[in-house]
């Protein structure tokens, strides 16, 4: 089933290339053709359910961000993965599928929230998991696992408690040990480090 789909799809849309995949059929599609392809997938090829939207940050490679879409056909019971590179590394954008698949609405909000990809044409592109005023996109590779100190969203609470969001002491593994001295003193302790090895902890 998947093979015939592949032949039909690549014949009709000559910009599609096959993508390396360890399981389902996977295709690369340029960002500006995505809407056309997904409309055809839904209406003509029976891939009627958009099960997942996400993105991968390739760090130093360019193109840096790749949007990943997983489709499931409720009739053929086949999965299909569509990957689309964001043309711009600094301000990654992709066309929004929210008009075609209502399911894309929240998925794209999540990807925008965590990965910082702008979905053009999205009806309501706001953060969904982090709070609205949060300044970072935590799933990007440069974002440290331990987090970055950020003012609490509620000013009154922050003022009353004098607290910010404290970073977790987890960078580079959760424990640290000084290595010299008697064993009782070199017992591994939770690291009190909020930044990774390459980056200094910024002063407030």
């Amino acid at each position: 089933m998947a093979e015939s789909d592949l032949a039909q799809l690549t014949e009709r849309f000559d910009y599609l290339t096959e993508r390396a995949s360890s399981d389902h059929l996977a295709l690369n599609c340029p960002a500006d053709q995505l809407i056309e392809l997904c409309t055809a997938l839904r209406d003509e090829f029976g891939y009627d359910m958009l099960v997942d939207v996400t993105a991968v940050d390739w760090d130093v490679h360019s193109p840096r961000f790749t949007g990943i879409y997983h489709f499931l056909s409720t009739t053929k019971h086949e999965y299909l993965r569509i990957a689309s590179d964001c043309p711009d590394d600094i301000n990654p954008t992709l066309p929004s599928l929210a008009g075609l698949f209502p399911a894309a609405n929240w998925h794209e909000r999540e990807t925008y929230d965590l990965m910082g990809i702008q979905y053009e044409g999205h009806p309501d592109l706001r953060r969904i998991l982090m709070w609205d005023s949060y300044p970072y996109h935590p799933l990007r590779k440069e974002f440290p696992l331990a987090g970055i100190e950020t003012p609490l969203p509620a000013d009154d609470v922050a003022e009353a408690t004098g607290a910010s969001v404290l970073p977790a002491p987890m960078m580079g593994g959760p424990f640290t040990s000084s290595g010299d001295g008697p064993m009782s003193q070199t017992e591994p302790r939770a690291k009190d480090e909020s930044w990774n090895e390459q980056q200094e902890k910024p002063t407030k």
Binding site: D48, M49, L145, M170
Partner: protein
């Protein structure tokens, strides 16, 4: 001290008439949650009410966001197993299995038949446990307290079985990449069968209490109906999707773990309303019992982990302590993680709440480069802003109960 205030009502009708324009112009903003018994966790709904009718509903998520996907990028595949417990924390065993399956698919590893059967047992017991709670609290949401007491008692028995199998009642962390943590304890299968025998009469009780209960039916039939097309378009999965009449069960349609060997039926709803969603779960418990009985009946002998996968599954402790080669193997797996080739996979398993998907990108080695978790509750809830408007405020409780979501996997 309580103060009382006397309000003169007078002729309500004519007074309302006087203020008619004023009254009609008013809508009320109502906030439910994030800490509210109706929302089963930390879902928050911002609603606009016109009298008793909801005009607009905006779900707010993220109160339980822990950044699981970020955490996964910095630990080995096995270390992430405990985090999967905390996705759908009402069915941790099923999450463990789904996650392990995704990584094994990337490693192109087939686990032995006995291991597969044990995992099927885990999944189905988790399904029963999750649905028992789902039906119970749903009944409670609709005002039927007794059902909850019945189902919760049964679920408690299940947790005792989980404890025997995994060592923990709640956060089981039972699977490893390439197998399960330990084999089935002696006599456990008999106790599972005993449980299966006991749970069916309880289901009949629940059936008597709810299925033809006038109050329950009045509150659920025709409420929160979702059309087939909407359910697919919003990416709903699991019992919620099947209640709408869509025949999609990954256990049947994309069989994994040898589900094709078992004889079971997939209940399909008609109207997609709250009542159908209850019927789905009640029937799925019965079907799970069927699967479990067949599974125990034909449980194959053999190993509970993939013995050939020396770079993936850590060797037995006795061997680690006596043999040099196994010691090195164990050391490598513990420090560097199970060695998995580079590639991309997406695997979905039919979990109690719907299709739990894992998208794993690996560049080789023991740590995922990117791990995306597709929580079924996240997708099931995304229909709320379309589904809820037009319903009465009191229906919200029933609709949320019928969707049976868990915020742990929604916010991840």
């Amino acid at each position: 001290m309580a103060t009382t205030k006397e309000i003169s009502i007078g002729d309500v009708g004519s007074r309302a008439g006087e203020f008619e324009t004023e009254l009609q112009g008013d809508t009320m903003a109502l906030n439910v949650g994030p800490s509210h018994p109706t929302t089963h966790g930390v879902l928050r709904l911002m609603m606009e009410l016109d009298g008793d009718v909801v005009k607009k509903c905006e779900p707010v998520l993220g109160y339980l966001h822990r950044g699981d996907e970020k955490i996964a990028e910095s630990m080995t595949y096995n270390q992430f197993v405990p985090y999967t417990d905390r996705l759908d924390y009402l069915a941790p065993l099923a999450n463990n299995v789904a996650y392990a399956m995704a990584v094994e698919k990337l490693a192109n590893l087939e686990v032995p038949e006995r291991c597969q059967a044990i995992r099927v047992l885990c999944c189905e017991l988790a399904r029963i446990s999750s649905h028992l709670l789902g039906v119970g609290v749903y009944g409670m949401d609709a005002g039927a307290w007794t059902v909850f007491m019945f189902t919760f008692t049964e679920r408690e028995k299940l947790y005792t079985l989980f404890e025997e199998l995994t060592g923990a009642r709640f956060t089981t962390s039972y699977t490893r990449i390439g197998g399960v943590a330990r084999d089935i304890p002696d006599g456990w299968l008999g106790r599972v069968l005993e449980f299966c025998k006991g749970v069916l009469p309880v289901l009949d009780q629940v059936d008597k209490l709810l299925t033809r209960n006038r109050i329950f039916m009045d509150r659920t039939v025709g409420i929160g109906a979702i059309s087939k097309e909407d359910a697919i378009a919003y990416g709903m999965t699991g019992p919620n999707l099947r209640a709408c009449g869509v025949d999609l069960d990954l256990r049947k349609d994309k069989p994994y773990l040898g589900y094709e060997k078992y004889d079971f039926d997939v209940p399909i709803g008609v109207n997609g309303d709250c009542y159908d969603r209850y019927l789905m779960r009640a029937e799925e418990i019965r079907q799970s019992v069927r699967i479990i009985r067949q599974c125990i009946d034909q449980l194959p002998e053999g190993s509970y982990y993939a013995e050939d996968a020396k770079k993936i599954f850590a060797p037995q402790k006795a061997k680690v302590l006596t043999s040099m080669e196994e010691l090195i193997q164990n050391f490598m797996i513990v420090t560097e993680g199970p060695q998995v080739p580079a590639g991309e996979v997406y695997f979905e398993a039919e979990n109690p709440k719907g299709a739990l998907g894992f998208f794993v990108v690996s560049k080789g080695g023991g740590v995922p480069y990117r791990l995306k978790i597709r929580g079924p509750s996240f997708c099931n809830l995304s229909i709320l802003d379309k589904l809820i408007p037009g319903h009465y405020l009191t229906d919200i409780t029933v609709i949320l109960g019928s969707l049976d979501f868990v915020m742990g996997e929604c916010d991840r």
